[in-house]
Amino acid sequence: MSDDALFAAVMDPANRADPYPLYARLRERPVSRQRDGSYVVSTHAAIRSLLFDPRLSSEDLPPPRRPRTGNPLKDLILNPIKNRISATHRPFIFRDPPDHDRLRSLVMREFSIARVQALRPRIAQEVDALIDACRGRGEVCLVSDLSYPLPVTVICELLGVPRADEPRFQAWATQLATAVEPDARHDDATRRQIVGAFDEIAAYMGDLIREKRRRPTDDMLSGLAAPGPGGRKQMSDFDLLSTAVLLLVAGHETTVNLITNAMLTLLRHPEELERLRADPERAPRLIEEVLRYEPPVHFRTRKALGTITVAGETIPKGAPVILLFAAANRDPSRFQAPDRFDPDRGDIEHFGFGGGLHYCVGAPLARIEAEIALVALSRRLVAPRLAVDPPPYRPGASLRGPEELRIGIDGTA
């Protein structure tokens, strides 16, 4: 395989279960130009350098377009307006400073330490209930039994979205998450589906936001929708909508991978699972090592606003840049024996939550969920073992994780 086809191979679902040999080949050139003109960055030093480079823009997605409907009112007036709105009010992970900073800081104010801490007992209760529900079974599917429903419940509670409504937008959320996959931007049909899902979920959210304005409750949506100083809106309605949708989707599509990847890794290293069972205080270091070794998000795409020289390679102005975090996490020039899962390595400076300005907003919550879930799983699943290894994977190459994880058990404790 030629070097400029390596990233296409990463995108190939056949390589989903083990992309790491491809990453190793990509790292041979820290910045590797691909056939489609994008530049894949895969070493720790080069990614670290670019994460702090103000010439790398996150406004990389082409503006989404609504499909033609044949209705002139929609095609000529309404949809072009909607297109323009979607392009200028993207979620803040697709925005640059100063807009990004303003929106993100408003979100962080609502994502307060007190509010996140207060979720701990709720998460523990939910984890116990989910494991209780597996009583009497000889096999569980971790994804559908715990690592999907847990973060969904948590994000719904945090945002103030009725959990009962969740089945309505589950499919939309999954569809929207594909927006971060590079192949989605090349494919018109996928793009249309993304826009369609956004319009549907935005309609739902719009209603909910109006409701929160009428009757505020103690949750993030109410907080974001509430008037700011001087009675003015904290953010525009369009920004509020895209922010709310982003948080909901991110809550659906990322923590699931962290929990599933962690359990998969522990079941492949049963001695570590046993150590966790004996000593739950090992959980934090174990989770950081999972974030390095099997991160929930493998890469993010940016755009070069200027000509950038990094690791001796020149990225031309306007080129798409793919920051391959998961490859940097296994960079042997940064980590000793990077392909070994070793929670006791002193140095776990990973990109499992990205880095720089766009460092994952939900990281503290993901850590709490993963810690509580893993400790409970290690204690309550009796003699757990992988029923299928490797498990089948979801289609995403960036948001990468198992579709299902079947675990044989001798019951639950």
């Binding site: 330490i113 996140v116 270091r285 950081e288 140095d347 776990i348 939550f353 460092y359 503290p364 850590r367």
Partner: protein, 79 residues
């Protein structure tokens, strides 16, 4: 005012050159770490020993590994 170092106290130092204000420590150990203003980290260099678990979480969660915690007892020699 925070108690002085002594028995039952941990010792913490943060490399504020490395610190980028990610605030992960504040979520992990809110009693010991706080961000003030946009990005000033204030921390307790002598938290009580019972906060050890939270401090360890903060240390692990720091994206730039800027937090140091004394792991064992002193090498003995007073003071």
């Amino acid at each position: 005012m925070k108690p002085a170092s002594g028995a039952g106290v941990l010792r913490v130092v943060v490399d504020l050159n490395r610190c980028q204000g990610y605030a992960q420590c504040c979520y992990a150990a809110p009693d010991a770490f706080a961000i003030r203003g946009h990005e000033i980290l204030f921390y307790d260099p002598a938290p009580p020993a019972e906060r050890r678990g939270a401090i360890e979480r903060a240390l692990q969660a720091c994206p730039v590994r800027a937090i140091s915690l004394q792991a064992g007892p002193d090498d003995g020699d007073a003071p």
